[in-house]
Symmetry: C2
DNA sequence: CAGTGGTCTAGACCACCTT
DNA sequence: AGGTGGTCTAGACCACTGA
């Protein structure tokens, strides 16, 4: 294991990353027991708290399981990327399909009451409204509507949205999502939705309403997204502490 | 703040709990800045690492936000219970509705190949199959099918399942869920599903496939659940690190 | 520049599990 | 009894923010 103590990336994170790779590569197969903390810390050349922190990171993600008095065990080689706050755009790429976007609308206009309340703006303040259709391999897959605080979305244009995920672009503008609240449900496709997605009226859709906050705790994005249920599912992993 | 150093519940958790209550009660309103770590640690009578750990716990749940060089701020008074691994039974109670269960089937029989692989059993090994309809205020809300390892579900009977959530009963048998992988999607109600749920054929359903592992990393439960989308949504909170 | 949170270390004690 | 992970402490240094 090769660590750079002077690197800006923390030691515990370097350790965790390499440990994760050892699991993903099968070098540490499912069911394998790890050495104890002191041995690991010594072999990594770090203190016990630092070693613990690295291990804990993988425990929190469900890759390792620990039991007091027993030891640390590898649960699964599976390395599901925590879909987290990443955009659908990246998910499509990871599935080795070609993402695409059609921008239907990108306007700035006064917001209604409901949007104002959630974005913590005065009613009637200007907000950026974005309406997209997301494609995978050229076929429509999702209808995505977003309402953004203008200071976050300023200067966005349709051209760059066609080639990048929204969050990628916001990231470049120093807008970083931190907390995402989602409400996931289902509904039947309306006539309009069915037409856009190329499916039948009444076909099942997965709906996701999302509220995104930045590191200051202020909400800068509301999303109302619907997905063709035959083409998309949401995968989550929860770990009990 | 009153702490019991000799209590079996860790200090950092006692602190976190009381801090959470202060936020929930509005004593620390949304947007409020907390004192710095050293002051907090001193006022709580704990060391800085312990204070940090308590704070971090709330940061991970999205209640607090921290910025280096700036401070710690309350994000939201909202205290969404992380639906986590809890059963629908508890969720219904929290919504102040009356839960109910109809046990349709509770049998032990040889499993098919797919179930065997996921439960890590030899094909044809006996598994417990459970088929329930969940009610809220007497109205059907979800159809839940589960396949359980017999050593986990041994001795379950229909009577106790009518009055308790499955996980409550497993908990009493020392079976504790640790990692849950969920795949969430949507589908249209079949004729049979529609009849059971009292909705129209083709009505949208939320589907959840779940794989539950215990602290040893072994999978002891598979679930295939469908919910009436007009009555149920899934709420999640994700925090980016 | 002063103040904040982020990282890292060293060592102590304890609760728990296995044998 | 011996080994494991879980908790807690004390103190040091650093990176970042804002005035």
């Amino acid at each position: 294991m090769s660590l750079s103590p002077s690197s800006p990336v923390p030691l515990y994170h370097q350790v965790a990353t390499q440990l994760e790779q050892a699991i993903a590569s099968g070098q540490l197969p499912k069911g394998a027991m790890l050495p104890n903390e002191l041995d690991l810390a010594q072999s990594w050349g770090v203190s016990r708290p630092t070693a613990r922190r690295a291990i804990q990171q993988l425990v929190d993600r469900g890759l390792l399981v620990r039991r007091r008095g027993v030891g640390t065990q590898v649960v699964a080689a599976q390395i599901r990327r925590q879909s987290a706050l990443t955009s659908l755009y990246e998910e499509i790429i990871e599935a080795h399909r070609t993402p695409g976007t059609r921008v239907i609308e990108l306007t700035e206009h006064p917001c209604d009451e409901q949007v104002a309340e959630l974005l913590e703006l005065a009613p009637g303040s200007p907000v950026v409204h974005l309406h997209r259709v997301r494609l995978a391999d050229g076929e429509p897959m999702a209808i995505m509507k977003n309402w953004l605080r203008p200071e976050a979305a300023g200067g966005l244009n349709a051209a760059e949205l066609e080639g990048n995920g929204l969050y990628r672009l916001l990231h470049d503008r120093q807008v970083r999502p931190r907390v995402a609240d989602r409400v996931i449900g289902a509904c039947a496709a309306s006539r309009q939705q069915a037409k856009v997605l190329g499916i039948g009226v009444g076909a099942p859709l997965v709906t996701v309403d999302v509220v995104i906050r930045d590191e200051r705790g202020t909400c800068f994005d509301l999303g109302r997204h619907v997905y063709d249920a035959s083409r998309y599912t949401i995968e989550t992993r929860t770990v009990q502490h």
